[in-house]
C-alpha cells in the first residue's frame, strides 16, 4: 500500500499567547517582549523556536514552547502595562497539528478554501478546514494547522482522511 500523502501528528507542547493592542503604537514593545520582529499583515516571524503571527490588524499570536509561556505572558503584560491592550494565555484552548511530507499541500487543499499554494513562505492564513476554523502556517517540510481544542478529534479525522494513501491531487 502506498504511503499517506502526509504524516499527521498532534503537537502537545505548544504555548500560545494572544495579544490585542494597537500594533502601530505598541509594536516595538511587543516585539521586544516577544523576542521577535513584528510580522507584517498575514505573515509570521520566527526564530526557529518561537513564532509571532499576525492574526488581525490589532491581534497577534505568540506561539512558543509551552515551558516559556508563563514568562512570556508576564513579559508581554509588563511591556504593555501602560497601553490599552489584552494579553492572554490561550495555550489550553487550541489543538495543533503538524502536516509533514511532499503532498502536505494536497491534504490541506482538500479541506480549506484558501489559496494555500500561493501563500507566501512566511504567510499565515486563517480559514476553515471543512467546518472548523483554523490557522495555517508553513514550517520546514510541511505545515502547522491550529484549531480549537474541542474539535481536535474532528480535525485529526479530517487530516488523516484527506491524507489517504493514493488520493494525491495530481492529474491522473
Amino acid at each position: 500500500m502506498a504511503e499517506a500523502l502526509a504524516r499527521i501528528s498532534q503537537i502537545d507542547d505548544l504555548g500560545m499567547i494572544q495579544i490585542r493592542a494597537d500594533l502601530g503604537r505598541a509594536g516595538d514593545a511587543i516585539a521586544e517582549a516577544a523576542g521577535l520582529a513584528l510580522p507584517g499583515q498575514g505573515r509570521v516571524t520566527t526564530d526557529g523556536s518561537r513564532i509571532l503571527g499576525w492574526m488581525s490588524p490589532d491581534e497577534l499570536l505568540l506561539v512558543l514552547p509551552r515551558a516559556e509561556a508563563a514568562q512570556a505572558l508576564a513579559a508581554l503584560q509588563d511591556a504593555l502595562s501602560t497601553e490599552h491592550a489584552l494579553v492572554l494565555d490561550v495555550s489550553d484552548m487550541r489543538a495543533a497539528f503538524r502536516i509533514q511530507g511532499d503532498k502536505a499541500l494536497h491534504v490541506l487543499m482538500k479541506l480549506c478554501p484558501a489559496d494555500l499554494a500561493s501563500m507566501p513562505q512566511d504567510g499565515l492564513r486563517r480559514t476553515r478546514a471543512a467546518q472548523a476554523a483554523c490557522g495555517i502556517w508553513r514550517e520546514p517540510g510541511g505545515y502547522v494547522l491550529i484549531g480549537f481544542r474541542s474539535v481536535a478529534d474532528y480535525l485529526r479525522g479530517l487530516l488523516q482522511g484527506a491524507a489517504l494513501p493514493g488520493s494525491q491531487l495530481d492529474p491522473r
Binding site: G42, S56, P57, P113, R125, R126
Partner: protein, 120 residues
C-alpha cells in the same frame, strides 16, 4: 458564491469564510427617537437592484467586519472598505461611478474620511 477581499487582512475570502451582516451604513436610533425613526432603523431596508452597500464579517479569518459596495444584479464588487465609516468614502463612490456612471449617491452628507479608530 462570492469572493470578497477583506480590507482588514488583505485576504480574498470566499463566501463560506464570511458572515453576511445585511445593509451597511444604518444609523442607529435609540431611546428618545420617534416611532418612525426607530421603525426605519429596525426594519426599513433598501434592497435595491443594483448598487448596494453591505456588511460582511471575515468570520473564518481575521474576525473583522468590513463593508462591500456591490451590484446586487451582476454581483460586480466595486470596492470593499473599512466598517469604521458612516458613509462610503470618496474613493468607493468613485469606483462605483467608474462602473455605473448613472448611479447617484442617495445620502446628502459629505462623505467623511474613515474615522480614526484605536483598533484600526
Amino acid at each position: 458564491m462570492l469572493t470578497l477581499t477583506c480590507p482588514c487582512c488583505g485576504v480574498a475570502a470566499e463566501e463560506t469564510e464570511l458572515h453576511a451582516g445585511g445593509e451597511a451604513h444604518l444609523k442607529r436610533f435609540g431611546p428618545g427617537s420617534s416611532d418612525a425613526e426607530f421603525e426605519g432603523y429596525l426594519f426599513a431596508r433598501k434592497n435595491p437592484r443594483g448598487v448596494h452597500f453591505e456588511r460582511w464579517r471575515h468570520a473564518y479569518g481575521c474576525g473583522k467586519w468590513f463593508l462591500a459596495a456591490r451590484c446586487t444584479a451582476t454581483l460586480q464588487v466595486f470596492a470593499t472598505y473599512s466598517a469604521q465609516t458612516p458613509y462610503p468614502p470618496a474613493e468607493v463612490v468613485a469606483a462605483i461611478r467608474a462602473a455605473r456612471p448613472d448611479w447617484q449617491p442617495d445620502w446628502t452628507e459629505t462623505p467623511t474620511t474613515p474615522a480614526e479608530s484605536p483598533n484600526a
